[in-house]
């Protein structure tokens, strides 16, 4: 027995277990030990809103997986064929091979329809997830230094996701997607001077031609997803590099991260969450139909259906077009279709408006510090109001894009809706901005009140002389910290324009603008001063306060 043990221990000394040997081999070539050492214990804070990005990542993976399956059966060709598949109401109809193969996937490939629906639902949820994730980052100020680049990466992912979605929506060559492509062609045509050339270049001649499905296919399965994959990897690397932000709270500072380690806790949570996301999306795809191309029929340029809208993420561009008056200018035998061209110009501006805000804010604050503690939206009223205004603007355009559905389902006149959107496009964001700012300031006042006077306990006390008072309970130390942890900026001042020697200094327009914006952001109208220690002490010392 003893000999065996000795020989065993010797052999283990000579020969490590297989797993260790493989790990050693890999470490010698990839340096995984140091990587694992630095990353396995990486801490992530716990909050449900930090998982919105995960929803996007997982739905993106689901889209890639299902997309690969679909490419096995999809024929990106516009050759005309006659339909002889299982779906009776289209028997003998002429259609492109793209449509025919999508019908084949839907009705004759095992699991084809489910995979198609998972792919499409996951795409809608991917974009919706990115939208909400982006708004989470926006309203909590997670875009501040050092994360501006990652904000831009995320924004690019959203925009590329929109176009990947659009090209995918166009591939089956059904009546709806063809209408969408026609819409895009119209937008391209409206570009002055080069529009016609661009359109002919894109479609290989007159619309629809025989090329666009094959071209959109490479863009949809190769070009855009490739770029997106790179950006996703970059986005994740930056999240690791910057470490995750966290909400203010006791023990949480700008220099630490309070949470659970990546391994094993987050690995398990994230892995499990992936399957939950997959499960939810698969369940939805199994329950609800999406893009029923068999009902829409093959595309022919002489056909169109009402209710022809793009998927939701392109809906705001549809809204821009639908509510724009049909203006046009005819000069020297050329037509400038302002009714289409102006929406085409506003389309990127809507997106850019939200994308550049972080840079405007950092210019106004002039803050060069790193920020790892998230803001509560109420504590940054101007930013929150801007974000809310942008969302309301976006939503107004979505209403415009679905004006016909709103009309039929709410028994309204489509013209009234269009006019509402035309006016609301300018008015609603302003109103939302003002209302949100007031709400934020109100909440700040309430926080201030809570810190200084405590929580309303609901206990009514009658004093000996007959007066009734409500007992206020002082907040716990933790709550006081959370409510007062945020920094408050002072409005930037231009400073004396004349120095001590009486020499006048030049003040540029940009400086003046910055000072004015800073006043708006952080002046008296922009925030409620948070309670100071002195104020707190004075009140809690019990002078003239119940």
């Amino acid at each position: 027995m003893s000999t065996t043990t000795t020989s065993d221990s010797r052999s283990s000394r000579e020969k490590a277990p297989a797993g260790e040997r493989v790990a050693d081999w890999a470490d010698g070539r990839l340096g995984i030990y140091s990587l694992a050492k630095s990353n396995m214990r990486k801490i992530f804070p716990d909050h449900w809103s930090f998982m919105l990005g995960e929803i996007c990542l997982y739905s993106f993976i689901i889209i890639i997986l299902t997309g690969v399956y679909l490419t096995l059966f999809f024929h990106p060709s516009m050759n005309e064929v006659e339909y002889h598949g299982s779906y009776i109401p289209l028997q003998g109809q002429l259609m492109s091979e793209a449509f025919n193969s999508t019908m084949h996937i839907s009705f004759d490939v095992r699991g084809g329809l489910l995979i198609r629906q998972i792919h499409h639902w996951a795409a809608l949820i991917f974009l919706a997830g990115m939208f909400v994730h982006m708004m989470r980052v926006f309203f909590t100020g997670a875009f501040r230094k050092p994360r501006e680049v990652n904000w831009v990466f995320g924004f690019l992912l959203f925009v590329l996701g929109m176009f990947t979605g659009f090209t995918g929506y166009s591939l089956p060559d059904d009546l709806l997607s063809g209408t969408g492509v026609r819409f895009m062609e119209g937008a391209v045509l409206s570009v002055p001077i080069v529009g016609t050339y661009l359109s002919f270049f894109l479609f290989g001649g007159e619309f629809p031609g025989g090329d666009f499905v094959a071209r959109f296919y490479s863009v949809h399965v190769l070009l855009l997803p490739g770029i997106m994959l790179g950006l996703v990897v970059g986005h994740l690397i930056l999240v690791f590099y910057h470490k995750h932000t966290q909400f203010a709270g006791p023990g949480k500072t700008n220099n630490n991260v309070v949470g659970m380690p990546l391994l094993p806790v987050y690995m398990a949570k994230a892995g499990g969450f992936f399957f939950l996301v997959f499960g939810v999306i698969a369940a939805i795809a199994a329950i609800a139909s999406i893009n029923p191309i068999w009902a829409m029929g093959p595309y022919r340029p002489d056909m169109v259906s009402t209710g022809a809208q793009p998927d939701w993420y392109m809906g705001f561009s549809e809204g821009l077009i639908r509510v724009m008056p049909g203006w046009e200018i005819n000069l020297w035998g050329h037509t400038l279709v302002l009714g289409v061209f102006i929406p085409l110009v506003i389309f990127p501006l809507v997106l850019v408006a939200i994308a550049v805000y972080p840079f405007i804010e950092s210019w106004v604050t002039g803050d060069k510090r790193e920020h790892h503690i998230l803001d509560r939206p109420r504590n940054v009223p101007t930013r929150t109001a801007f974000g809310a205004a942008w969302i309301s603007w976006y939503f107004v355009l979505l209403v415009g894009g679905g004006n016909d559905i709103w009309a039929t389902h709410f028994h309204l006149a489509i013209n009234s809706i269009t006019w509402f959107v035309r006016i609301a496009f300018f008015v609603v964001p302003v109103l939302t901005f003002m209302a949100t700012k007031r709400i934020c300031l109100g909440l700040q006042r309430r926080d201030r009140d809570k810190v200084l006077h405590g929580r309303e306990s609901g206990i009514i006390k009658r004093l000996p002389h007959g007066e009734f008072i409500e007992v206020h309970e002082p907040l716990s130390q933790d709550a006081l910290h959370t409510l007062t942890a945020h920094d408050q900026y002072k409005p930037a001042e231009i400073g004396p324009t004349v120095d001590e020697n009486g020499v006048e200094r030049k003040v540029s327009g940009a400086q003046k603008l910055r000072a004015r914006m800073s006043e708006g952001f952080y002046g008296e109208e922009g925030q409620i001063p948070k309670p100071t220690v002195e104020e707190y002490k004075e009140i809690t010392s019990g002078h003239g306060h119940h």
Partner: protein
């Protein structure tokens, strides 16, 4: 014969010949025409027309005029035909409840017999499309695929690709074709009610109409299956987007909240 030929130049001869000819034609007609049946039919029809006129005077004349000539409140009904009456009254659109952008369909208040009487009266005012027969509207023997192509070419731009309806300008709308009697679909195509253009047989032949009805029956009928699951109204991307946001992302956020709320706990030791 001599007597007859001698008088053949008599001034009254032409009159006599005319009378004889008329008598002969009338007699022959009376002898050969399906006299008895025609007689009975005419009575029933004229009875129907009379009854229809009475119903018309009570229910329709205030807008369409006492003789169907129309007024500022309603169009002339001369020449609209029985099919128009059967459609408008048979779907409850007429008599109209109130003026508006469009008269919606509602509960039918006349019996089919009364509708037929009014239809007979209106048809008597001037020739127009008749009520289609059962075989004309039955989807049997029709080419569904051709119907679909015709539907997408002619109908889908207002009624949506499977006839779920859609919006028109100024509060008008193309109604949903779900659950609409094939006879009424046929009549609507034939007569072009309200904002709808009419598709007479010269535009869409009888066979075409039958095909369209068969297509609608196949894609939007009672037995239509939705291969992909819930149809979500069959309205296209707007309802899909709403569903994706509310039930897709909504569920995922709920799941995220659930997962985040379950964190690892330190072991008690």
């Amino acid at each position: 014969m001599k007597k007859l030929s001698a008088r053949r130049r008599h001034p009254l001869a032409a009159v006599v010949v005319l009378l004889l000819a008329l008598a002969a034609t009338g007699g022959l007609y009376a002898a050969f025409a399906p006299a008895g049946k025609a007689q009975a039919d005419e009575t029933a029809q004229s009875l129907g027309i009379t009854e229809g006129q009475k119903l018309y005077s009570v229910g329709c004349a205030s807008c369409h005029g006492t003789g169907g000539q129309g007024s500022s409140d309603g169009p002339s009904l001369v020449g609209v035909g029985a099919a128009a009456v059967d459609f408008q009254v048979g779907t409850g659109r007429m008599p109209a409840q109130q003026p508006g952008a469009q008269i919606p369909k509602k509960k039918v208040i006349y019996s089919q017999a009364e509708i037929d009487q009014m239809a007979a009266y209106i048809a008597s005012l001037g020739a127009g499309p008749t009520i289609p027969t059962k075989s004309q509207v039955s989807p049997e023997g029709a080419d569904i695929a051709n119907g679909g192509e015709l539907f997408r070419t002619n109908c889908a731009q207002c009624h949506n690709f499977t006839g779920k309806g859609g919006a028109l300008t100024h509060g008008k709308f193309a109604p949903s074709l779900e659950g609409v009697d094939p006879k009424h679909i046929y009549e609507a195509m034939q007569t072009g009610p309200q904002n709808m253009p009419s598709f007479p047989d010269t535009t869409l032949t009888e066979k075409n109409k039958k095909d369209i009805i068969a297509y609608l029956d196949a894609v939007n009928g009672d037995d239509t299956e939705s291969p992909g699951g819930l149809e979500l109204g069959g309205l296209g991307p707007v309802s899909e987007g709403l569903f994706g946001w509310v039930f897709g992302l909504g569920t995922l956020v709920a799941v995220a909240v659930w997962v985040a709320a379950r964190t690892a706990k330190a072991k008690k030791s």
